[in-house]
Amino acid sequence: MTDVTLAPAAAASRRNWSHFALRWTLFTLLGLFALFYLMPLFVMITTSLKSLEEIRTGSLIAFPREVTFDAWRTAWSEACTGIQCEGLRPFFWNSVVIAVPAVAISTMLGAANGYVIAQWRFRGANLIFSLMLFGCFIPFQVVLLPMARMLGLMGLAGSIPGLIFVHVIYGIGFTTLFFRNFYVTIPQDLVKAAKVDGAGFFRIFWSIFLPLSLPIIVVTVIWQFTQIWNDFLFGVSFSQAGTQPVTVALNNIVNSTTGVKEYNVDMAAAIIAALPTLLVYAVAGKYFIRGLTAGSVKG
């Protein structure tokens, strides 16, 4: 307590100064961390805009002397994935065709499951919920063989519907968890009131619960889209030539080049493969944060 002996004004200025210093240390540190995390992205972007010549001669972290989008064009439509040389384009489309229905179906099923488990308590509801939760923690690798057999039996092996099926099944655990936790915060009186009003199971879901669910739908869609778009293991295991998702194609582009490694093409391809998830987060990110805290405020 040395401050006691100082004049009040001096003490105040000293406190101000230390406050100021602390602030700046904090911001500097945070800035450094941010730079550190952004470094790889910076390298990826600059490298993708350089020519091979410049990559070979220049420094890794230098800005491109001459900006060229050749590598992007190559990655999108010309790069070879094995014997095929059509770039990422067809595989990007595969991923879209897999991810969009898989996200939509798993979100809808999750909403319906969550609604039933949270609001229509039946004997064994908790057990079923626990089992679904357990499903979230089963590693992908464990289900590969049984799933392959299953897809074979269903006649979906190596097909895009097969991959959609796998992602839906694997996603239900998470989507159910999200919706159940959201719906559990909605008072049961709402269902009772609607029942007395004459509404049935589906009517209540459609007219009352779904309109309330926008925040949690956004959370679920972001989560599911990121999971499914970024998936590699299922993609590589359950696809065949022509049905591979973009992540598998990216791997093939990077690993199947012969001769000189085209780092600029690899980097451009990696960014293209990552763009949709970035985009989804940028567009819906604020709802994501809101959704995670939703339920605390009831209308």
Partner: protein
């Protein structure tokens, strides 16, 4: 008149726990039935059973002469107002009110006409385009009532509809519900834990405790002739004085003797009571004890008591003394000269008292 709601031998269990035990209640069209009791007494469960929102374990529920025991809520011709209001948060007030009609397939013109009627009745015309989140508690309450009114049901069910409102609004809405009942001539079943609400609203009260009906009767019957110690204690504010006493019958009535903290016991003579056991509990309402000289009539007996405390409450003054080891409250006129620590002659109106058995708690007279 045939009863509009007839509940016979209703039982409800959750696993091995009995929530409701052998409930028998029946009301006529136009009745205002209030189910009252402390929390956990099963009154809300009973209401949910009437609504069909909870399956029952045994017995029968008839509404409007039809057996509704296994009919789903939407076909019971009922409407319900919830404690939490349970308004649909994403719908406007107008859509909240018309949702039931829409579900049942009423045409748009009818929906609109009834909406306007109800909105006018409850004075919520200005709120129709708002969402529940933009309304105050009292306004939400009105909308919730509107949603019930618009349906014209055989039976209105209210589940503690006023307990989320502040004290002033609660009294206002209470009056309004009473007025509504009067104007509509509707039949209502109303759950509350507030005995004043029960007294003011009901034409018939069911007092419950632990899933068992304690007493069914008009407010006056419940108040003046409580069936047991629980009802006596629960209904009325301040509560009925329940004083342990010794009774001794002789030819022309009964001699009642109560200990009076320190001084000589008080002795009263009740000429009507006969056949009381030796130990009784005397139940006397605070307003049936007056200052000597201010109450006359057959059955009024005077005795001097030591006053422990004087609590002026404006219109009345409450004085507390100690009888039979219990604090006994008397409601005196405002200008009483009673002083704490002094003796005062009190007049007990024995024509109004109740006697209870200390062993069973049941009423004896």
């Amino acid at each position: 008149m045939a009863p509009i709601l007839d509940i016979t031998n209703l039982r409800k269990n959750y696993g091995a726990t009995e929530i409701l035990k052998d409930i028998n209640v029946s009301i006529e069209p136009g009745d205002f039935l209030v189910l009252v009791g402390p929390s956990g007494c099963g009154k809300s469960t009973l209401l949910n059973c009437i609504a069909g929102l909870e399956p029952i374990s045994g017995g029968q529920i008839e509404i409007g002469g039809r057996d509704m025991t296994h009919v789903s809520p939407k076909d019971r011709d009922i409407a319900m107002v919830f404690q939490s209001y349970a308004l649909y948060p994403t719908m406007t007030v107008a859509r909240n009110i018309t949702f039931g009609m829409k579900v049942r397939g009423a045409d748009a013109a009818t929906q609109d006409r009834k909406l306007q009627e109800v909105a006018a009745q409850l004075q919520i015309e200005a709120l129709l385009d708002r969402r529940p989140g933009q309304l105050s508690g009292g306004q939400r309450q009105r909308v919730a009532m509107g949603r019930a009114l618009v349906r014209d049901p055989k039976l209105f069910l209210f589940d503690e509809p006023l307990s989320n409102l502040d004290a002033k609004l609660r009294v206002e809405m209470r009056t309004e519900i009473k007025k509504l009942h009067h104007n509509l001539g509707a039949t209502m079943v109303y759950v509350t834990h507030d005995q004043i609400e029960a007294m003011t609203l009901a034409t018939k009260i069911v007092v419950m405790k632990g899933g068992v009906v304690q007493q069914i009767g008009t407010p006056a019957e419940i108040y003046n002739k409580p069936a047991n110690l629980f009802v006596a204690d629960f209904m009325g504010s301040p509560a009925m004085n329940l004083i342990p006493a010794r009774a001794e019958g002789n030819g022309e009535g009964t001699r009642i003797e109560m200990d009076c903290g320190g001084s000589a016991p008080i002795v009263l003579k009740d000429s009507r009571a006969t056949g009381l056991p030796q130990d009784v509990i005397l139940g006397v309402r605070p307003e049936d004890i007056a200052e000597a000289g201010f109450r006359a009539g057959e059955g009024v007996q005077e005795a001097a008591c030591l006053i422990d405390m004087v609590e002026p409450a404006g219109a009345d003054t409450y004085v507390v003394s100690n009888l039979g080891g219990k604090q006994v409250t008397a409601r005196l006129h405002a200008e009483t000269r009673a002083q704490p620590g002094q003796m005062l002659d009190l007049a007990f109106d024995l024509s109004k008292v109740s006697y209870f058995s200390p062993a069973t708690g049941e009423r004896l007279n």
